[in-house]
C-alpha cells in the first residue's frame, strides 16, 4: 500500500530518502499508450502542415478565428475533461505528453490549449460542485467555451494579497469590480476563473474564486497585447464593471480563493513542463540536422567539441526535464497529497532547461540563428515567458525553500502548530525557527542509516546513488546551517533561500533521473540502456559540483557585497564609473 501522504522533498530536507515515492519510474498502461499514439498521429496531421501559417501568425500577432475553430472541432479543448462530460479524460501524464506534442509545432497553440486546460478551467475540475461541472464542462470540452485564468492585476502578480478586484455581496449574489492584466486567452475566452477580494481579517485580505462568463453584463476585454513571444496566442486585459455574479458561481469555499489559486497552479504545472519538453525536442532536431549539414573549415560542425558539448548538454537537460515532469505527473495522478514543491521544481527546471537549450540552439546556427527565416529566434522568444508566468522562477525558488523549511519544522511535533502557517504568514511563522534550529541537528543525526539510502536502485547505478545520498546529507545540513545562521531573518535572506532552493531543485531532478535510468536498465538491459546510464553519469556529476559549490557558499559568500553594489546602483540609477 502506497502512503500518499509522504512528500519526497520535505522528507529529503530531513535527510530521509523516501525512495518508494519515485521508484519504480512511472510507466504508462498499454491502453493509455495506444490512445496517445492515436493522439500524436492526429496532432501531427493537424499541425504538421501548418508550419508556414504559424510563422505568419507569429508575425501578424494573431491566429485566425477559423483556426481556433479547427482546434475546437479537433477536440483539443477537452483533453483533461472527464469522458462523461465529453472530454478525453486525460490525467496529468497523458495531458503533459499531448502538450509536448503540440508544442513541437507551435508554442502559441500549446499555450492556448494550456491556458484553457492547465489553469483556465482546472479550478472547476478540482473544486466545482456537481451542478457547476454539469453546467460548464460539456461546453468547455467541445471548446464552445474557452477558459481563462484571471488572477494577475497591474499591482498584483504572484503577490495575491495585493489584489484590488473586489466582490461585494448583493442580495444572494455578488457584484464584481476590477481589472485583470495579461490574461492568456482573454480575447477568445467565454469562461473566466476570477479571483477577487471578498473581505479581510486583521489586515489580511480574504480572496474568493468566481466563475464569470463572458455573457454577464459588465464583462469586457481589452485589445490583443503586442508581445515578445507567443504572439499568436491571445493575451488581453479583462475588465469587470459591476458584474453581477450569482452565488452559485463561487468556486470552492468562500474566502479560500488563495488556496484555490495555488491548487490550480500546482495541479496544472505539468502542462507547462510538457510544453517545454516538446520545444526542447524540436530544438534538438533542428540543431542536430543543422550541425550535420553545416560545414566550416572543410569539416561538418558536428565534429567540433564545442558543438558536441552544446548538443550533449541539450540531450541531458531534455532527459532530466522529462524525468522530472513525468514524475510530477505521476505524483499528481497517483493521488499524492503534497506535491507543490516537486511541481514547482519541475516548472523552474523545465523553463530554465528550455531557455538554455533555445539559446545554445541559436548559437549553433550562428548568424543564421539570428535570422527570422530560421526557427530559432521565434522559439527563443516563445520560450522566454516560461520563466515568468505561472509564478516567476524567483518566487517559486522562495516558495520551494520556505515550504521545505516549513515542512521540516512540522516534523518536530512540539513546534508543529506554530510552524504550520509558515508560508501563509511567513513573518509570524519564523519566530519559532531559532528553537527549531537547535533541535534540527539532533533530529538529522538520529535518522536510521537505511532511510538515508537507496535500496531499490540497481547496483550498476551505485556511483550516482552514492552521490545522491551524500548530497542529501548536505541538503539536510544546509537547511540546518541556513536556519542557524539567519534564524527569524531567513525571510529577508533571499540569496540564502535561493541557494537552498537550487540544491533542492538539483536533487529532486537527479532523483527522477536515477529512477528513470534505473527503469530503462531493468527493461532494456545494460547494453541498450548504456546511453541513458551515460546521461545519468553526466547529470549526477554536474549536480554534485553545483550542490557542493552552493553548500560551500552558505557560510562564506559575497552576498552582502553584491547587494551593496546593487543598492549603490539603485541610488544612482545608473552605472557610476566613466573613464572619459
Amino acid at each position: 500500500m502506497v502512503d500518499t501522504s509522504v512528500s519526497f522533498m520535505s522528507s529529503l530536507c530531513m535527510g530521509i530518502i523516501e525512495e518508494q515515492v519515485l521508484i519504480p519510474y512511472p510507466a504508462m498502461a498499454a491502453e493509455q499508450k495506444e490512445t496517445l499514439h492515436g493522439v500524436i498521429d492526429s496532432v501531427k496531421q493537424l499541425l504538421g502542415p501548418r508550419a508556414e501559417d504559424f510563422r505568419k501568425w507569429d508575425r501578424a500577432g494573431e491566429m485566425p478565428a477559423a483556426f481556433v475553430e479547427e482546434l475546437k472541432q479537433f477536440g483539443l479543448f477537452g483533453l483533461v475533461i472527464p469522458e462523461e462530460f465529453g472530454g478525453m479524460g486525460f490525467k496529468s501524464a497523458s495531458y503533459a505528453r499531448t502538450l509536448q506534442e503540440i508544442a513541437k509545432y507551435d508554442a502559441s497553440v500549446a499555450v492556448t490549449v494550456g491556458a484553457h486546460s492547465s489553469i483556465g478551467m482546472r479550478g472547476l475540475l478540482l473544486f466545482g460542485t456537481p451542478e457547476q461541472k454539469q453546467r460548464y464542462l460539456p461546453k468547455l470540452a467541445t471548446g464552445e467555451m474557452i477558459a481563462a485564468f484571471a488572477l494577475t492585476e497591474a499591482g498584483a502578480g504572484s503577490d495575491a494579497a495585493a489584489l484590488k478586484t473586489r466582490a461585494e455581496r448583493d442580495g444572494d449574489g455578488w457584484v464584481l469590480t476590477g481589472n485583470k492584466l495579461w490574461i492568456t486567452n482573454g480575447g477568445i475566452a467565454d469562461f473566466f476563473t476570477v479571483f477577487a477580494r471578498t473581505g479581510e481579517l486583521e489586515g489580511k485580505p480574504h480572496i474568493t474564486a468566481f466563475i464569470v462568463t463572458r455573457d454577464m453584463p459588465g464583462v469586457s476585454v481589452g485589445t490583443h497585447e503586442d508581445k515578445m513571444g507567443l504572439r499568436a496566442s491571445s493575451t488581453t486585459t479583462v475588465h469587470f464593471d459591476g458584474v453581477r455574479v450569482p452565488a452559485e458561481n463561487v468556486l470552492g469555499e468562500e474566502n479560500k480563493g488563495f488556496k484555490v489559486a495555488m491548487a490550480i497552479l500546482n495541479n496544472g504545472r505539468t502542462g507547462l513542463g510538457g510544453g517545454a519538453i516538446g520545444a526542447m525536442k524540436k530544438l534538438i532536431e533542428h540543431s542536430t540536422k543543422y550541425a550535420n549539414e553545416r560545414k566550416t573549415f572543410g569539416k561538418s560542425i558536428r565534429e567540433y567539441g564545442m558543438i558536441k558539448l552544446k548538443v550533449g548538454q541539450m540531450v541531458v537537460d531534455c532527459y532530466a526535464t522529462e524525468a522530472a515532469v513525468e514524475m510530477v505527473a505521476a505524483l499528481i495522478d497517483g493521488g499524492y497529497e503534497d506535491y507543490a514543491v516537486e511541481a514547482a521544481i519541475s516548472k523552474v527546471f523545465a523553463s530554465e532547461a528550455l531557455w538554455h537549450t533555445a539559446d545554445e540552439a541559436l548559437q549553433i546556427a550562428g548568424g543564421n540563428g539570428y535570422m527570422c527565416e530560421y526557427p530559432y529566434e521565434r522559439m527563443i522568444r516563445d520560450a522566454r515567458i516560461n520563466r515568468i508566468f505561472e509564478g516567476t522562477n524567483e518566487i517559486l525558488r522562495l516558495f520551494i525553500a520556505l515550504t521545505a523549511m516549513n515542512d521540516v519544522g512540522s516534523q518536530l511535533k512540539e513546534l508543529s502548530s506554530s510552524m504550520r502557517g509558515l508560508f501563509d504568514d511567513p513573518i509570524k511563522g519564523f519566530g519559532v525557527l531559532r528553537q527549531y534550529a537547535l533541535k534540527h541537528a539532533s533530529l538529522v543525526t538520529g535518522i536510521p542509516r537505511a532511510r538515508s539510502r537507496f535500496t531499490l536502485v540497481s547496483p550498476e547505478l551505485h556511483e550516482a546513488t552514492t552521490v545522491f545520498e551524500e548530497l542529501t546529507r548536505h541538503l539536510a545540513a544546509a537547511v540546518d546551517r541556513i536556519l542557524r545562521k539567519h534564524g527569524r531573518n531567513i525571510i529577508g535572506k533571499q540569496l540564502a533561500s535561493r541557494r537552498l532552493a537550487n540544491i533542492m531543485i538539483d536533487l529532486f531532478v537527479l532523483a527522477c533521473v536515477i529512477s528513470r535510468v534505473n527503469a530503462s536498465l531493468a527493461a532494456l538491459g545494460a547494453e541498450k540502456a548504456a546511453k541513458e546510464v551515460d546521461i545519468l553519469k553526466v547529470f549526477s556529476g554536474q549536480v554534485e559540483r553545483r550542490v557542493k559549490h552552493a553548500f560551500g557558499l552558505i557560510d562564506i559568500n559575497d552576498d552582502e557585497l553584491i547587494k551593496g553594489l546593487a543598492d549603490h546602483a539603485f541610488d544612482a540609477e545608473k552605472f557610476s564609473w566613466d573613464n572619459v
Binding site: 491502453e31 495506444e34 490512445t35 492515436g38 498521429d41 492526429s42 472541432q73 479537433f74
Partner: protein
C-alpha cells in the same frame, strides 16, 4: 453499401535506414522500426469512407466500413486508428508477417469476405514495404468477382462503380458490378476523385490527403467492435507457397561526382555510366 478494407502494417518508409539484416541473412530485423498502415491502404480507407457518406456531412456513416488486417496483437493499434478515422468495425487475423505470403493473405481474405458478404473490397494497389502488388488480384480470382486495379477515380452508380484507372498514356474507365474488388492508386484521394451516390455532383473534399481522427473519435474508437480470428480457422492447413531464401542489403551506392557542364555530363554518361 458495405465495404471491407484490407490494411497492411508496414515499417514507416521514412525510417528505411533503420532496416537491418542480420549477418545470417535469414530475415529482416524489425526491432526498432516504427509501424504504420501502408499508405495506399490508407487511401483505400479514405475511399471507403467517401463512398459511405454524403461529402457534405462526413460525420454520418451511410454504410458500413469493416477494416481488416493480418498480424500480431500490436497491429490492433493500426485497426484502432482506422476505427477512429471512421471505420465501424475491425477484424484482426492473428498471425505474424513471416507466416504469410500473398496467397495465404488472399485465401484468408476470401474466407472473411464470404463471412462478411461486403458489396466491395478495397485495398491499396500495392504495399510499400516489399512493393508487392498481388493480393487484390488474387482475391478477385479466388472470389471470381469483377476487379478494377489502380483506381484513380470512383463514382458510385446503381449496383456498381465507374472506375477510372490510370494506365500508360491515359485513363481506362471500367464499369464494375457489385460485389467487386478494387485496388486504389495515389490520386484517389484528390478532392473530387470519389463520389458516392449521396454526394452531390461537383462536390470537392476540402483536403487532398486522407482524413485524420479528431480526438473524441479516438476515445469513441475504443468502444467499437474489434474481433480477433485465428489464421488457421480461415485457411485451414494451407502453408506458405513462397519462401524467402536469403535477405541481403542492396550494395551501397558509390558517391556521385559533380560535373562542370552538359558536355562533361554526356561524356561521363557515355563512358563511365554507359547509360547512353
Amino acid at each position: 453499401m458495405k465495404i471491407l478494407v484490407a490494411l497492411k502494417r508496414v515499417a514507416d518508409p521514412a525510417n528505411h535506414n533503420k532496416v537491418k539484416i542480420p549477418a545470417a541473412g535469414d530475415k529482416i530485423d524489425t526491432a526498432g522500426l516504427e509501424w504504420q498502415i501502408n499508405p495506399f491502404d490508407l487511401y483505400a480507407l479514405e475511399t471507403a469512407l467517401r463512398l459511405t457518406e454524403d461529402g457534405k456531412a462526413p460525420k454520418t456513416r451511410l454504410g458500413e466500413v469493416v477494416a481488416v488486417t493480418l498480424g500480431p496483437a500490436e497491429t490492433e493499434t493500426n485497426l484502432r486508428s482506422a476505427l477512429a478515422t471512421g471505420a465501424d468495425r475491425a477484424i484482426r487475423v492473428d498471425t505474424t508477417d513471416d507466416a504469410l505470403d500473398g496467397r495465404l493473405v488472399a485465401a484468408a481474405l476470401q474466407k472473411l469476405v464470404e463471412e462478411e458478404k461486403p458489396d466491395l473490397v478495397l485495398m491499396g494497389k500495392q504495399v510499400v514495404d516489399g512493393e508487392n502488388n498481388y493480393v487484390g488480384q488474387a482475391l478477385a480470382e479466388l472470389l471470381d468477382w469483377p476487379m478494377a486495379t489502380f483506381a484513380a477515380t470512383i463514382k458510385e452508380e446503381a449496383g456498381g462503380l465507374l472506375v477510372g484507372r490510370e494506365v500508360d498514356g491515359g485513363v481506362s474507365t471500367l464499369r464494375v458490378k457489385f460485389p467487386a474488388v478494387v485496388t486504389v492508386d495515389l490520386r484517389i484521394v484528390a478532392p473530387d476523385s470519389v463520389r458516392s451516390s449521396k454526394t452531390a455532383e461537383g462536390f470537392k473534399y476540402p483536403y487532398e490527403e486522407v482524413r485524420f481522427a479528431p480526438l473524441p473519435a479516438i476515445m469513441q474508437a475504443k468502444k467499437k467492435p474489434l474481433a480477433v480470428k485465428k489464421l488457421a480457422d480461415l485457411v485451414g492447413g494451407a502453408t506458405l507457397s513462397s519462401k524467402y531464401v536469403k535477405f541481403e542489403a542492396p550494395p551501397a551506392r558509390k558517391a556521385g561526382v559533380k560535373v562542370k557542364d552538359v558536355q562533361e555530363l554526356v561524356q561521363k554518361l557515355a563512358t563511365e555510366a554507359k547509360a547512353i
